[in-house]
C-alpha cells in the first residue's frame, strides 16, 4: 500500500484543531480541573542554600482556620526514587531529610480548605537553619565528561599549532528560566490504591511511571492526564518534587488536592537553562578552511542531582573539520536543579561557536556567510555517512536573498538608519537528531470515522492538529472524519514532547498504526469472495475517500464502513510502534533540522539600546506537516532567541543562593513591542530516514538568533559582546 496520491491534508495550513477551545476559555489546563471536596496545597521553601533545618515549627500554621495538615520531612512518607529516563535520573524525592541543598527547596506543604487559607498558613510555618558558610554555594566537584559525549577527532593541538589563523575567546551565557505562562499545577485524586493525576507535564507516561515507582504502586494504578499544558519549553520533562508532594498530600488528607506553583516557585522548582562558560579555539587556513575546533564548555549543576545537557558536543558535527575536541564539564553549586530549556545545550553552544566563526571571518577578511558555506559538512563529520537530508546551503541561499544580505556593507559601523547604527548578522544551525520509541493506536468504526491516540502531549506545538492531518491522510479520510487524542497515560505509551523528537516518533507510530489498521481491514476482504478486493495484497490497494480500493481501478473497492458492516464488526483497532533507526543499518546519518538565521540589529550609539527590527529564518525541517503551525513554532523560537540574546538572565545572589529576580516583573522576557518583523521560510524536502519524512522543528527556531544578534551588534558598533544577555551597559 502507498499513501494517498493527492497530498491535500498534510502540509496544508490547517487551523489549530483545538483553537476554538483555547480562544473561548474552555480548554481545561491542570489548574482548571476541580473535584468536589478538593483541598488546596501551598509550599514552604527554604531560605538558605545549604545547611540543615534547625527548627521547623508548624504549630501556629496547624491551628489556623481551614488548615487540614502540614507535612514536613519529619512525617512525610519515605519515598522511593523515580526511574531514570532517556534524559537522566529523576530529581531527588522531596522532604526526606533535614538537609538543605538549595535556596527554595521545599521544607513543608500545607493543605487547607481554601487557596487563601493554605497560602496564609504556609507563611506561618517557622523555620530556622544551621546554615553552611555562605561561600559554600560552590561545591568542590568538577565533573569531567559527565554525559560521555566528549569528542576527540584528529589532532587538534597539532592543527592549531600549524594553523595560519587562530581565533581564541571565551563566551558566557547566563542562566535562563523556562517560565511557561501556565503555572505548573498538579491535581491528585486517590480512590483506594489508585490515583488520578492531572499534571502540567510534557510526558504523561513518565509521570505515571514515576508516581508508581515513588509510591510503590503498579503502573496500572496511576492515571495521568495532560490534555492541555500551559507551555513547557522543557520545564515539564521531569517529574519535579511538587508533583510528588501533591500526590502525597492528597493521600494524607484523603481528599482531592490541587497544588499550583507560584511564579517565584516556578524559578526554583521546575528547572532552568544552566549558565555556561565556553572556551573556543578555531584554527583555519588563510582561504577560510577550518582545520581545528577546540570547544570546552563548563556548565553548572545542582548538588545531588543530574542534568543531561551536552553543550560542546554539537560543535563536532556542525562543520567539516578534521581535528576537533569537544569537552563538557559540570560544576556543582547549591542551586535549584537545572533542566532542559528549549534547545538545551544547543542554545548555549551555538552562541559560542557561531560568534567565534564571525570573529574568525573578520580576521580572515571574509564574508561571514561565505566562511560558513566554505566549511559546510557535506557528510556527517563523525561517522562519514551521508546525511539523510541536508539543505543547509539552500537555507543560506534562500535566507540571504529574502533578507537582502547582499546589501550588507562589510565595513564596521558603516550602515545607519537615522541615528541608529545598523548591523547585519548571520548564524547557522545544525540541530542534532534525536528520537526515542513511541506507540500509537488506530481504530476505524462502522460509521466510517477513525480514532487515533497516543499518550503524548501537545504543549502548544500542534500535535493534536498535525497528527489528525497525518491520520486522515494515511487512512484516506477527511479531517472531520478523524479524531486524534492524547494526554492520557492509559493510551499507548509515548515519549516526551521534547528534544524536537515527538513529531517524528509519534508520526511514525501513527504511520505504523494506520498501516496496520489498513492491513487488518484488507485481511478481512482478501479472503472474502463477496468483496471486490478479494485476493488483493497491500501492494495492490490504496485508501481514499473512506474506501479501500485497487490501485489500478478506483471502482474496484469498498468503504471501511461496508466492510465492517458485512463482517459484523463495530470497529477494528490496530497498534503501531516506531523506533529510531540504526544509522549504520540504513547507511545514513539521521539528520536533525538545519537553519540559517539573518538579523538586522539597530544600536543606539548614545544609549546602547539594541533593537531587532527584522529576522529571517530559513529552515530545513524535512517534510512540513502544517506550514501554518510550523511557522508559529519557528516564530516562537525566534522570540525565545531574542529573549536569550537581549533580556533573559536569572540572577542568583552569590551570598545567599537566592534568586534575586524571580518574578515576571524582574526577569525580563520579550513583550510584543520587542518583536519586529519575523520572516520564516522552509526549504528542503522530506527526510529519508523515516516514512513520514519529518524532522523536528520545535527547537531549531531558537539557536542562532543570539549569535546572529551578537554578530549584528559587532557589525553595527565594532563592539564584540561575548556574554549573554547583551545589555546596554556593555555597549556604552
Amino acid at each position: 500500500m502507498t499513501m494517498t496520491e493527492p497530498v491535500t491534508v498534510v502540509g496544508a495550513g490547517v487551523d489549530r484543531v483545538e483553537g476554538p477551545h483555547k480562544v473561548s476559555g474552555t480548554a481545561a489546563y491542570p489548574s482548571d480541573v476541580s473535584y468536589p471536596g478538593m483541598a488546596y496545597a501551598a509550599l514552604v521553601r527554604s531560605t538558605v542554600a545549604s545547611g540543615r533545618i534547625a527548627v521547623l515549627d508548624t504549630t501556629a500554621a496547624e491551628a489556623m482556620p481551614g488548615v487540614l495538615t502540614v507535612i514536613t520531612h519529619r512525617d512525610a512518607a519515605r519515598l522511593a526514587a523515580g526511574p531514570t529516563t532517556s534524559i537522566g535520573p529523576a530529581p531527588p524525592p522531596p522532604m526526606q531529610d533535614d538537609l538543605i541543598r538549595h535556596h527554595g527547596q521545599y521544607v513543608a506543604v500545607v493543605v487547607a480548605q481554601t487557596r487563601q487559607q493554605a497560602a496564609t498558613a504556609a507563611r506561618a510555618v517557622t523555620v530556622s537553619y544551621r546554615a553552611e558558610p555562605t561561600a559554600a554555594l560552590d561545591d568542590t566537584e568538577l565533573r569531567v565528561d559527565p554525559f560521555g559525549t566528549d569528542v576527540t577527532r584528529g589532532d587538534t593541538a597539532a592543527a592549531l599549532a600549524t594553523a595560519e589563523v587562530v581565533h581564541e575567546a571565551t563566551y558566557r551565557t547566563a542562566e535562563n528560566t523556562n517560565n511557561p505562562l501556565g503555572l505548573f499545577t498538579t491535581v491528585a485524586v486517590w480512590a483506594g490504591d489508585t490515583v488520578t493525576v492531572h499534571d502540567s507535564t510534557q510526558w504523561t507516561s513518565n509521570t505515571r511511571a514515576t508516581v508508581a515507582a515513588v509510591f510503590g504502586l503498579p503502573e496500572e494504578a496511576v492515571r495521568v492526564y495532560a490534555k492541555y499544558v500551559g507551555g513547557g519549553f522543557g520545564a515539564g520533562l521531569r517529574v519535579w518534587p511538587h508533583v510528588l508532594l501533591a500526590v502525597l498530600a492528597a493521600r494524607t488528607v484523603g481528599r482531592p488536592v490541587t497544588l499550583t506553583l507560584t511564579r517565584p516557585e516556578m524559578f526554583t522548582g521546575v528547572g532552568h537553562r544552566p549558565d555556561t562558560v565556553q572556551r573556543l579555539r578555531i584554527g583555519a587556513r588563510r582561504d577560510g578552511t577550518i582545520i581545528a575546533i577546540d570547544h570546552e564548555a563548563t556548565q553548572t549543576v545542582a548538588v545531588a542531582d543530574e542534568n543531561t545537557e551536552p553543550v560542546a558536543a554539537a560543535s563536532a558535527t556542525a562543520y567539516a573539520c578534521p581535528n576537533v575536541t569537544a569537552r563538557d564539564r559540570q560544576r556543582r553549586r547549591h542551586i535549584p536543579c537545572p533542566g532542559s530549556m528549549r534547545a538545551p545545550g544547543e542554545a548555549q553552544a551555538n552562541f559560542a561557536l557561531e560568534s567565534a566563526l564571525d570573529e574568525l571571518a573578520y580576521k580572515l577578511g571574509m564574508d561571514p556567510l561565505e566562511l560558513r558555506l566554505r566549511n559546510d559538512a557535506e557528510v556527517h563529520p563523525e561517522s562519514g555517512l551521508p546525511w539523510s537530508s541536508k539543505a543547509l546551503r539552500d537555507c543560506y541561499a534562500v535566507g540571504a536573498r529574502r533578507f537582502g544580505w547582499s546589501r550588507r556593507d562589510p565595513r564596521i559601523g558603516a550602515m545607519r538608519d537615522g541615528r541608529w547604527r545598523v548591523g547585519f548578522g548571520v548564524a547557522g544551525v545544525s540541530y542534532p537528531w534525536w528520537q526515542v520509541p513511541c506507540r500509537a493506536r488506530a481504530t476505524v468504526s462502522r460509521d466510517g470515522t477513525a480514532y487515533v491516540r497516543s499518550a503524548a502531549t501537545d504543549i502548544g506545538t500542534g500535535t493534536y492538529t498535525v497528527m489528525r492531518q497525518l491520520s486522515a491522510e494515511l487512512l484516506g479520510l477527511r479531517l472531520d472524519q478523524v479524531r486524534f487524542d492524547l494526554g492520557d497515560s492509559r493510551m499507548p505509551a509515548a515519549p516526551q514532547a521534547g528534544g524536537s523528537g515527538l513529531t517524528g516518533a509519534l508520526g511514525n507510530a501513527v504511520y505504523a498504526a494506520c498501516q496496520a489498521l489498513v492491513r487488518a481491514v484488507l485481511d478481512l476482504v482478501t479472503t472474502d469472495t463477496q468483496s471486490p478486493l478479494h485476493g488483493c495484497t497491500m501492494d495492490d490497494v490504496m485508501v481514499n475517500g473512506g474506501r479501500l480500493h485497487h490501485r489500478g481501478d478506483a471502482r474496484r473497492g469498498e468503504s471501511f464502513a461496508a466492510i465492517l458492516d458485512r463482517h459484523g464488526l463495530y470497529e477494528l483497532t490496530a497498534d503501531g510502534t516506531s523506533a529510531p533507526p540504526d544509522p549504520q543499518q540504513i547507511g545514513m546519518a539521521p539528520a536533525g533540522a538545519f537553519a540559517a538565521k539573518f538579523v538586522e540589529v539597530h544600536v543606539d550609539p548614545d544609549l546602547g539600546l539594541v533593537r531587532v527590527p527584522r529576522v529571517v529564518s530559513a529552515v530545513d525541517g524535512g517534510r512540513i506537516l502544517n506550514e501554518k503551525l510550523a511557522r508559529s513554532q519557528v516564530v516562537g523560537g525566534t522570540v525565545g532567541g531574542i529573549g536569550q540574546a537581549l533580556l533573559e538572565e536569572t540572577v542568583t545572589d552569590p551570598d545567599t543562593g537566592r534568586i534575586a529576580n524571580a518574578t515576571l516583573g524582574d526577569y525580563l522576557i520579550p513583550v510584543n513591542a520587542d518583536i519586529g518583523e519575523v520572516d520564516v521560510v522552509f526549504v528542503g524536502g522530506p527526510d529519508r530516514t523515516t516514512p513520514i519524512g519529518t524532522k523536528g522543528i520545535g527547537e531549531v527556531g531558537l539557536p542562532g538568533i543570539a549569535a546572529a544578534i551578537a554578530n549584528g551588534v559587532y557589525h553595527a558598533t565594532g563592539t564584540r559582546i561575548r556574554s549573554l544577555p547583551i545589555t546596554l551597559d556593555q555597549l556604552l
Binding site: 483553537g19 476554538p20 473561548s24 503555572l183 519549553f233 518574578t663 513583550v671 520587542d674 519575523v678
Partner: protein, 168 residues
C-alpha cells in the same frame, strides 16, 4: 476565616460582593482576601481567565470591568461590588464567537493557549480604546500581555485584521 459546612465563609474577614459577570448577577459571600481572579475561577467557576503570575506582571488574567481592561489578580473581588465584569466566556454572541476569537484562530495567534484569554480581552479593549491604528501601536498597547510561546507577530496580525473590519 472558617467555612461553615456549606463552604460559605464566616467570621471577621468575610465580606459580600454583588457583581455582574457576563450579564449574570452573582451575590458572593467571600473571604475578603479573595481576588477577582480567584473569585471568577474558584467561586463562580469561570476558569477561562488564567493565573500566570498572580503579581500583575503577565496579563493572563486580563478581564473587563465596566468595559475597561484590568488585571483581575490585582483586583479584589470585593472591589467589584456593583460592577460589570466581562471574561473570555462572555465574548461570544450567543453561539457565535467574537470576531477577535475567530481572528486569533485564523492567524494562529497562540500556541499553548494559556495567555490567550487575556490577550483576547486586551485586544478587544484595545479596539475600544482606539489604540490599534498601526502595528507599532498594537505592539505597544499589547505589551502588558506576555506570551512565552512567542506568538506576538500573529497576535498583531489578528488584531490588525479585526481593527481593519471596524468591529469592536
Amino acid at each position: 476565616m472558617d467555612r461553615d459546612d456549606g463552604g460559605t465563609p464566616t467570621g471577621p474577614t468575610a465580606t459580600e460582593a454583588a457583581l455582574t459577570v457576563n450579564g449574570i448577577a452573582h451575590h458572593l459571600r467571600l473571604d475578603a482576601r479573595v481576588t477577582l481572579l480567584d473569585a471568577l475561577r474558584d467561586e463562580i467557576g469561570l476558569v477561562g481567565t488564567k493565573k500566570g503570575c498572580d503579581q500583575g506582571a503577565c496579563g493572563a488574567c486580563t478581564v473587563l470591568v465596566d468595559g475597561r481592561r484590568v488585571l483581575s489578580c490585582l483586583t479584589l473581588a470585593a472591589q467589584c461590588d456593583g460592577r460589570e465584569v466581562t471574561t473570555v466566556e462572555g465574548l461570544a454572541d450567543g453561539g457565535r464567537p467574537h470576531p477577535m476569537q475567530e481572528a486569533f484562530v485564523r492567524h494562529d495567534a497562540f500556541q499553548c493557549g494559556f495567555c490567550t484569554p487575556g490577550q483576547i480581552m486586551s485586544a478587544v479593549a484595545l479596539l475600544r480604546e482606539r489604540r490599534a491604528a498601526s502595528d507599532d501601536e498594537i505592539r505597544e498597547f499589547m505589551s502588558g500581555n506576555l506570551c512565552r510561546c512567542g506568538a506576538y507577530p500573529n497576535i498583531v496580525a489578528a488584531i490588525r485584521e479585526v481593527a481593519g473590519q471596524g468591529v469592536g
